[in-house]
Point group: C2
Chain length 237, copies 2
DNA sequence: CAGTGGTCTAGACCACCGC
DNA sequence: CGGTGGTCTAGACCACTGC
């Protein structure tokens, strides 16, 4: 059973969507609203707090609670950590074609720091180019320490999103990443591979991935063609 | 006076920083902790909830509450909406030199949609190039509807961050923005102005700015030299 | 099963805002 | 000042986890 404050939150959302409450409208006082929903004031407040965080309500101390104008939908919100497969699906693309390679090496220094490894430890380097209509659209390079992931790549196909493979094979759940947004230089070989038209531009995301205890478990370097992938971020003061 | 749950939150933060609690450590039960802090369980939980959202604690239902590994500090977090002035300060740069221009025009179509304007309405177009050691490092173009901002630019100097000018002169507070992350094409004239060395790369942020009622109040197009400005985002599943 | 966190309540008092 | 939201409590019961 869903908790009451979630139910109320969803009811309020529906009322806003259906126009019962219009942008700018003021709610009744918390006491009134709680009575109306037949819950305690604190329970009603829990629902409001969630909606406030989502930017759907504005609560002013000593004044009242107001319905906000809806924010336009943001496609491909960069704050949501999703697989490239999912991103392509959302963009209406099928990543049927791929070129992949896996190698085992000692860890390149650049990644050793981010992964908290000594430079002599072994890592998988998994490289994948996704193609659409014969054109490359995104190249991803994943660096995975062998000590965490053992020999998962010998056991499984790679058709599924990497996140799923890791979780199923090793129990490691990647839940967050610190992502640096970059533009590759014109001499970058991966950039050149994506340069199908002279006006193609490419975004480069360098990501340090963490498990649910904030341990760095994986590093990835992803090159996205900017004419195909659009990234958004919501910024707040 | 600060509320108790904030005080407790800060106390817990201090205890984690000073090593009283180590990453991985488990707290006592909520009842025990609340007793220890001499507050009710709910109050203690409010403090924990904040720390959980910041990724400093991990709460597992039916198991316990644990201290997380600290996430590395992220400079220039893109999720924080800050002025370019503040960003440059953080990067150790002084934006002493500037080139600016202001014009009034009817709203270019590209922006009219984002700003909810009809194409015949008038907007300010405020362009600013910031220089460091004689080199341009960032170009920003701000589009401001005249109907919201009147003639603020006649009244004030432009030495302060634009956010401050807007707030002081018109009472309008920009509190969030939807930001599209782009790479300019090589033919973009603003890109070419920043191309001081052949290997310079440039990030282009297109931002729709909202006030505290989610009304779009301003549009901006900012070109950042990527060799000088580094942007980060924290992504979560 | 015992122990943990998750939800919910009724009521109290405080802090802020606008008139 | 009256009305709003903000904090806090003590106690109850539920839901999840691991042994």
């Amino acid at each position: 059973m869903k908790p009451k404050y979630i139910i109320i939150k969803e009811e309020i959302e529906k009322m806003i969507e259906s126009g019962v409450y219009q942008p700018g409208d003021q709610f009744g006082s918390e006491y009134e609203m709680a009575t109306q929903f037949e819950v305690s004031r604190e329970t009603f407040r829990s629902a409001v707090k969630l909606l406030e965080q989502e930017g759907k309500l504005l609560v002013k101390h000593g004044v009242g609670t107001f319905v906000m104008n809806p924010l336009p939908e943001v496609p491909n919100n960069l704050e949501k950590l999703t697989s490239i497969t999912a991103m392509m699906k959302q963009a209406g693309l099928k990543d049927a074609e791929r070129h992949e390679s896996i190698s085992t090496e000692t860890c390149p220094e650049e990644y050793a720091i981010s992964l908290n490894l000594s430079p002599d430890e072994h890592v998988y380097i998994h490289e994948r180019t996704r193609m659409v209509n014969g054109e490359p659209v995104v190249i991803s390079i994943n660096i995975l320490p062998k000590k965490y992931f053992g020999d998962i790549f010998e056991e499984r196909g790679l058709s599924e999103p990497l996140f799923h493979v890791l979780e199923a094979a090793s129990g490691i759940k990647i839940v967050r990443s610190n992502t640096e947004i970059n533009v590759p230089t014109s001499t970058d070989p991966y950039y050149q591979k994506l340069l199908v038209k002279p006006e193609t531009t490419v975004l480069l995301l360098k990501q340090q991935h963490f498990d649910d205890s904030n341990r760095p478990m994986m590093f990835s370097v992803d090159y996205y063609r900017n004419d195909i992938f659009k990234f958004w971020v919501q910024r707040m003061r």
